[in-house]
C-alpha cells in the first residue's frame, strides 16, 4: 500500500510539471489582459495533435514536433490576441464569451482534421520504463518534467531580469502606470500571448508523449489550468508550480485510492474549497470577490 501511494505521489508530481506550464500560460495572459483565455487548453491540445501528425506522418519521434508546434501554436495565440483586443464593450465578460467561442472553433477544427479517435504515441523510446528505486515511470515523464522545470526557470529569469518580462509584470500590476513609464501595454499583451503559446507547445507535446489525447481534452485542460491558478493565487510563479504539483498528486492519489472516474472531481472540489476558504489562493494577494 505504501508503495502504491509513493508511486502515486511520484506520478502525480511528474504530471504536475505539464500542468504548471499550461497554468502559467493562462496566468500570464490573465495578468496582462485580465482575460481568462478559455481556449488555452485547446492551444495545448493543438500542439499535442501536431506531435501526433509528425509521428504518424513522418515516422519520427514526436519530440521533434516541438518546432512545428511552436510555430503553429504561437501563430494561433497571436490571432487570439488580435481577436480578443477587438472586444470593445464590457470587456471582462465579452472576452470570456469570445474565448469560449474560440475554444469551440478549435475543438471542432481538431475534430474535423484528426477525427474523434483517441490517439497516443507509439514511440517505444518514449514509453521505456525508467526505474528510480521502487518508482516506475515512462521515459517521457521525467524527461518532460525536467523540461518544464527548465522552462519555468527560464520564465522566472525572463520575468525578473529582461526588459519585456519586467514590462509584463508592470502591465499586470498597473496598466496605466506602466503606460506612463513608456511601456506599450498592447505590445506587452501580445508578448504574453506568445509566451503562453510557447509554454502550451511544450506542454502539448509532453501530454501526447505520455498520455492519450482526444478532441474534448482541451476543455478539461483549460479547467485544470484555471483550477491551478485559483489554488496558487494570481501573480505567483512558485505558487503556480506548487498548485500544479498539488493537483497532479491529488489526482494520482484519487485514481490509486478511489477510482479513476473521480479523477476530475478532486480538482473541482479543491477549486471550490480554496475559493471558499482561502479566496486569495494559497500564495496570492489580489482579491477576486465582487
Amino acid at each position: 500500500m505504501t508503495d502504491l501511494i509513493l508511486q502515486a505521489l511520484y506520478s502525480g508530481l511528474l504530471q504536475g510539471g505539464s500542468y504548471a506550464l499550461i497554468a502559467l500560460g493562462l496566468a500570464l495572459v490573465f495578468g496582462t489582459t485580465k482575460v481568462i483565455n478559455l481556449a488555452h487548453g485547446e492551444l495545448v491540445l493543438l500542439a499535442a495533435y501536431i506531435a501526433y501528425t509528425v509521428e504518424s506522418g513522418l515516422g519520427v519521434n514526436p519530440v521533434l514536433a516541438i518546432p512545428a508546434a511552436l510555430v503553429i501554436v504561437c501563430i494561433s495565440a497571436v490571432i487570439m490576441y488580435f481577436l480578443v483586443s477587438m472586444v470593445k464593450t464590457d470587456r471582462e465578460l465579452n472576452s470570456l464569451i469570445l474565448t469560449y467561442g474560440l475554444g469551440v472553433i478549435l475543438t471542432n477544427a481538431i475534430l474535423l482534421i484528426w477525427s474523434a479517435d483517441i490517439r497516443s504515441t507509439s514511440s517505444a523510446w518514449l514509453q521505456d520504463a525508467i526505474v528510480v528505486g521502487p518508482l516506475y515511470s515512462m521515459r517521457s515523464e521525467p524527461m518532460f518534467f525536467i523540461v518544464s522545470v527548465v522552462l519555468m526557470g527560464g520564465l522566472w529569469w525572463w520575468l525578473s531580469r529582461s526588459w519585456y518580462g519586467r514590462a509584463v509584470r508592470a502591465v499586470a500590476g498597473n496598466r496605466d502606470a506602466a503606460r506612463l513609464m513608456g511601456i506599450n501595454p498592447r505590445r506587452t499583451e501580445l508578448v504574453s500571448f506568445v509566451i503562453a503559446g510557447i509554454l502550451a507547445s511544450f506542454a502539448g507535446v509532453a501530454i501526447f508523449s505520455y498520455g492519450v489525447i482526444q478532441p474534448s481534452l482541451g476543455h478539461v485542460l483549460t479547467i485544470k489550468a484555471f483550477v491551478i491558478t485559483v489554488l496558487a493565487g494570481i501573480g505567483s510563479i512558485p505558487g503556480v508550480l506548487v498548485g500544479a504539483l498539488l493537483l497532479g498528486v491529488a489526482e494520482a492519489l484519487t485514481v490509486t485510492l478511489a477510482s479513476s472516474a473521480l479523477q476530475e472531481l478532486v480538482g473541482m472540489i479543491l477549486f471550490l474549497l480554496v475559493l471558499f476558504v482561502m479566496p486569495n489562493g494559497l500564495f496570492g494577494r489580489a482579491g477576486r470577490r465582487g
Binding site: M86, D90, L98, N108, I223, L275
Partner: protein, 316 residues
C-alpha cells in the same frame, strides 16, 4: 400597448401555424422542438446575464438535475408527468442552493465556479448508480399523457407543451423586468456599489435571479427527458446544453427577451438543416465562428439591430 398586443397575436398565430402546416413532417417538427428546448435554456441563461449580470458556463447542471428529478419522481414515486416538470424546476433550484456561495465571486470566477458544479453533478449522476442508473442511464421514462383529446406525447403535442412553457417564461421575464426588482437590477447593472449604498440587497437579488434561471432551465430539462424518453449522465449534463444556448442568446441579443428564443430558432435550424449537411461532424465550428463574430462586431445581438424601435433604453 396596442402594438404589443398585435405583436403577441402575430407571434401566437405563427407559433400555432407551425404544427398545422408542418405537423405531418416528423423530422421538421423534432427540429422545432429541439430548437425551442435550446431557446428555453438560452432565455434562462440570458435572464441571468441580463438581469443578474452573471455569465454562466454551467447551465447544463440545471438542465441535467431537472431532467433527473422529473424522470425519477415520475418513475419511482408515480408523480404525474406534468407535475414532474415543475418538480424538475424545483430540483434545479435546490441544486442552485449549493451554488449560492459562488455569488460572492465576480466575472470569470463565477462563470468557472458554476462550470465546476456542472462537472461535479455529472460525476455524481454517473457514480451514484443505485439511484440514477449510472452511465447505463434510465429508460422507460413516462411520456406526456393525452389531455383534452390531444396526444401530447406526439410531435405536435410536445411542440405545444414546450411552446406554452416558453411563453409562460417570457411573461415571467417581462413581469420581473417591469417590477421594482427589475429597476433595482437595472441599477445594479450600472453600478452595483451605488445600488448597495441606497439599500438594495444586491446579493439577495442576484440569488433570486439565479433561482429563476435555474428553475426555468430545470423545467426545460424535465420537458426534454419526457419527450426523449431516455436519460444518461453524458447526455443530461452535456456541454451542448451550454454552448448552443450561449451562441443562440448572443446571436439573438441577450439583453432582449425575444432575442434568445429567436436566436435559438435561427441558429439551431440553420445548423441542423445547412451546416450539418456541409460538415457532418464538427459543424459547431461554424457556430463558434458565429459567436466570435457576434461578440466582436455586435455584442448586443441581432434583434436590437433589426428592430430599432427608437426606444433608447429597451434593455434592462
Amino acid at each position: 400597448m396596442k402594438r404589443s398586443l398585435i405583436a403577441w397575436i402575430a407571434i401566437l398565430v405563427v407559433c400555432i401555424a407551425v404544427p398545422v402546416l408542418l405537423g405531418h413532417n416528423n423530422y421538421i417538427m423534432s427540429l422545432f422542438i429541439a430548437a425551442l428546448v435550446i431557446g428555453g435554456i438560452a432565455l434562462a441563461w440570458a435572464l441571468l446575464g441580463n438581469l443578474g449580470g452573471m455569465v454562466s458556463f454551467g447551465h447544463s447542471a440545471f438542465f441535467g438535475v431537472g431532467a433527473y428529478v422529473s424522470a425519477l419522481s415520475t418513475m419511482e414515486a408515480g408523480v404525474p408527468v406534468m407535475a414532474g416538470l415543475l418538480l424538475g424546476g424545483v430540483g434545479a433550484v435546490v441544486a442552485s442552493l449549493v451554488m449560492l456561495p459562488v455569488l460572492r465571486l465576480r466575472g470569470p470566477y463565477f462563470a468557472l465556479a458554476i462550470l465546476a458544479y456542472a462537472h461535479i453533478f455529472k460525476i455524481v449522476a454517473t457514480e451514484w448508480s443505485s439511484v440514477t442508473g449510472g452511465s447505463g442511464g434510465l429508460s422507460g421514462i413516462p411520456a406526456f399523457p393525452r389531455m383534452l383529446g390531444i396526444d401530447l406525447a406526439g410531435k405536435s403535442g410536445s411542440y405545444l407543451i414546450i411552446l406554452a412553457i416558453l411563453l409562460v417564461f417570457i411573461l415571467c421575464y417581462q413581469a420581473i423586468r417591469k417590477s421594482h426588482y427589475g429597476i433595482a437590477l437595472r441599477a445594479m447593472h450600472d453600478s452595483e456599489d451605488a445600488t448597495r449604498v441606497v439599500g438594495v440587497n444586491s446579493t439577495l437579488l442576484k440569488a433570486m435571479m439565479l433561482f429563476v434561471s435555474a428553475f426555468m432551465t430545470g423545467v426545460v430539462g424535465a420537458f426534454n427527458v419526457h419527450y426523449i424518453g431516455f436519460l444518461e449522465p453524458d447526455y443530461a449534463f452535456n456541454g451542448v446544453w451550454v454552448t448552443l444556448p450561449i451562441i443562440a442568446a448572443i446571436f439573438g441579443g441577450y439583453r432582449t427577451i425575444w432575442g434568445p428564443v429567436l436566436g435559438a430558432l435561427t441558429v439551431y435550424l440553420v445548423d441542423q438543416l445547412v451546416f450539418k449537411n456541409l460538415i457532418p461532424s464538427g459543424h459547431q465550428l461554424i457556430l463558434g465562428g458565429l459567436l466570435v463574430v457576434m461578440i466582436i462586431f455586435s455584442p448586443r445581438g441581432l434583434v436590437p439591430v433589426l428592430f430599432k424601435s427608437g426606444r433608447k433604453h429597451a434593455s434592462a
